[in-house]
């Protein structure tokens, strides 16, 4: 696990290299979106922790209970995971069996890199497409705890899928423009 000591420092890959960014105004735009999702993830995580503490506090000390807290934590957790999967991808943190990659020639590794980025793109598109259909029926349904319609809950998957596509596009553009980590 890699922990930066300060939220404002340059973001690093799992290997310790700083994450590569596109040059120019396009790079500024991409960085801004990445930062937005990082902030969202931190807020979601903090909100989960507060909801859980609030739940225990209410039940044990005030003798009253919250019907929304359990559901809120569950759904926030799912949003957090779907938002943070692309961040892990950007940091090259996801676990894989990289025996083949290390055995390949530079050219082979390059091709494999393209395949992997395109595969992430496909997974993102699949997530968006599946979730969109799901939301088409889920608006009829109300969650019992918070009383929101389920399409709003599933929105997290849609946003996460879109962010995954966005991140894959960032990586593919970097490949096209020949950008590499400093």
């Amino acid at each position: 696990m890699h922990v930066t000591s300060d939220f404002d420092t340059v973001e690093k890959e799992a290997s310790g290299k700083p994450v590569a960014t596109l040059p120019g105004p396009l790079g500024t735009l991409f960085s801004a979106v990445h930062r937005l999702f990082e902030i969202a993830v931190v807020i979601l995580f903090a909100a989960m922790v507060f909801a859980a503490l609030w739940q225990v506090f209410n039940r044990f000390l005030l003798g009253s209970t919250l019907s929304w807290s359990e559901e809120f934590q569950r759904y926030s957790h799912i949003w957090l995971v779907f938002f943070a999967v692309p961040i892990g991808y950007r940091r090259n943190a996801h676990i894989g069996v990289d025996i083949l990659q290390n055995a390949l020639s530079a050219r082979g590794a390059l091709v494999l890199g393209w395949i992997i980025d395109l595969a992430w793109l496909v997974l993102g598109v699949a997530t968006i497409s599946g979730t969109a259909t799901l939301m088409g029926v889920a608006w009829r349904q109300t969650s019992p705890g918070m009383g929101v319609t389920m399409d709003k809950v599933y929105l997290g998957l849609l946003i996460g899928g879109a962010y995954l596509v966005f991140t894959a596009v960032d990586r593919l553009l970097q490949k096209v423009l020949g950008v590499s980590a400093a």
């Binding site: 039940r59 003798g63 009253s64 209970t65 919250l66 019907s67 929304w68 359990e70 559901e71 259909t133 799901l134 029926v137 889920a138 009829r140 349904q141 109300t142 969650s143 019992p144 705890g145 009383g147 389920m150």
Partner: protein, 304 residues
């Protein structure tokens, strides 16, 4: 006809849902032409909410048997069936669900893509099981942390009884009672036995606060794909299973209560009459939020 029937219970004949599924399967396969019914117990195709959602998309299971509470997520009027202290006896439930009220709810659910082919009984009322404190009158319930599902109706029902409704995931109940996070839970006797909650909850008070009928539901997509003859077989098989299941209900409830007592659980009768006025106002309040005041009146009228 290939039919996938899903439910959340164990594949045991002690479960009213699995028994109904099995009866339906045997009838449909032996008396229908080319019916092949596969039962998927134990949430194999997903939790009830997810199975219903997939059925709206015409995917996953073709039919499901579940409690009616979950259907309230899809059509809030159905929530009226799970109001506290609503049902007088099994006959009352049957009169209402096989009559006008049942038909009205079936029509409402059709808009969400569901076809209710039969209304079923649960094998016994929901009562309160407690760890250490025996409940002999409603005063004893005051302030006890009783686990229930995080649905408004259930939370309000438990709170109306003076207890402190504590929504919690099913998997946490056992240890939460063992350590004292919970003072008890509310469920019917057969669920208490099947999940061995009697190992930690030594008292069972017959509050009969909720009945929780069941519904045998198929997706509209599936039903409309059937020929008229097959539709008739589906309906006959479901009704046969329903009739058999209903006639077993009082028998099995009595057996489960006896089994609890034999397992050393202290089963107590509780006079809930002091709760009636609180319960009536909770019923009115919830029925208004479900837009089901008319249905509530009809159910109350059928009690007499």
């Amino acid at each position: 006809v290939e039919l996938k029937l899903a439910h959340a219970h164990q594949d045991s004949m002690e479960s009213e849902i699995h028994t109904t599924s099995w009866l339906f399967q045997k009838y449909a396969q032996d008396f229908g032409t080319n019916f092949n019914v596969t039962i998927h117990p134990n949430n194999q195709l997903g939790q009830e909410r997810e199975v219903y959602e997939a059925m709206q998309l015409g995917s996953g299971a073709d039919c499901i048997i579940s409690g009616t509470a979950i259907l309230g997520n899809f059509e809030k009027k159905v929530g009226v069936l799970d109001l506290p202290f609503l049902w007088k006896d099994y006959d009352h439930v049957h009169r209402v669900l096989d009559g006008e009220v049942g038909t009205e709810l079936q029509t409402a659910l059709r808009n969400s893509g569901f076809e209710v082919v039969a209304w079923l009984d649960s094998w016994g009322y929901r009562n309160v099981a407690t760890t250490n404190k025996a409940i002999t009158n409603v005063e004893d319930l005051k302030g006890l942390k009783i686990r229930t599902i995080p649905t408004d109706t259930y939370v309000k029902a438990i709170n109306a009884m003076g207890a402190n409704a504590t929504p919690m995931a099913f998997g946490e109940i056992y240890t939460a009672m063992e350590t004292g996070v919970l003072d008890g839970l509310e469920h019917n006797a057969s669920i208490i036995l099947a999940n061995k909650f009697n190992e930690v909850a030594h008292n069972y008070a017959l509050t009969r606060h909720l009945f929780g009928p069941l519904a045998f539901v198929c997706s509209s997509t599936f039903v409309s794909s059937l020929s008229e003859a097959d539709k008739a077989t589906l309906q006959k098989a479901a009704w046969f299973a329903r009739d058999a299941q209903r006639s077993l209900a009082p028998l099995r409830e009595g057996e489960a209560l006896k089994a609890l007592a034999d397992a050393g659980v202290n089963v107590t009768e509780v006079d809930t009459a002091p709760l009636q006025s609180a319960a009536a106002s909770v019923q009115d309040e919830l029925a208004t939020s479900f837009e089901a005041t008319g249905l509530l009146e009809k159910i109350r009228a059928a009690a007499k």
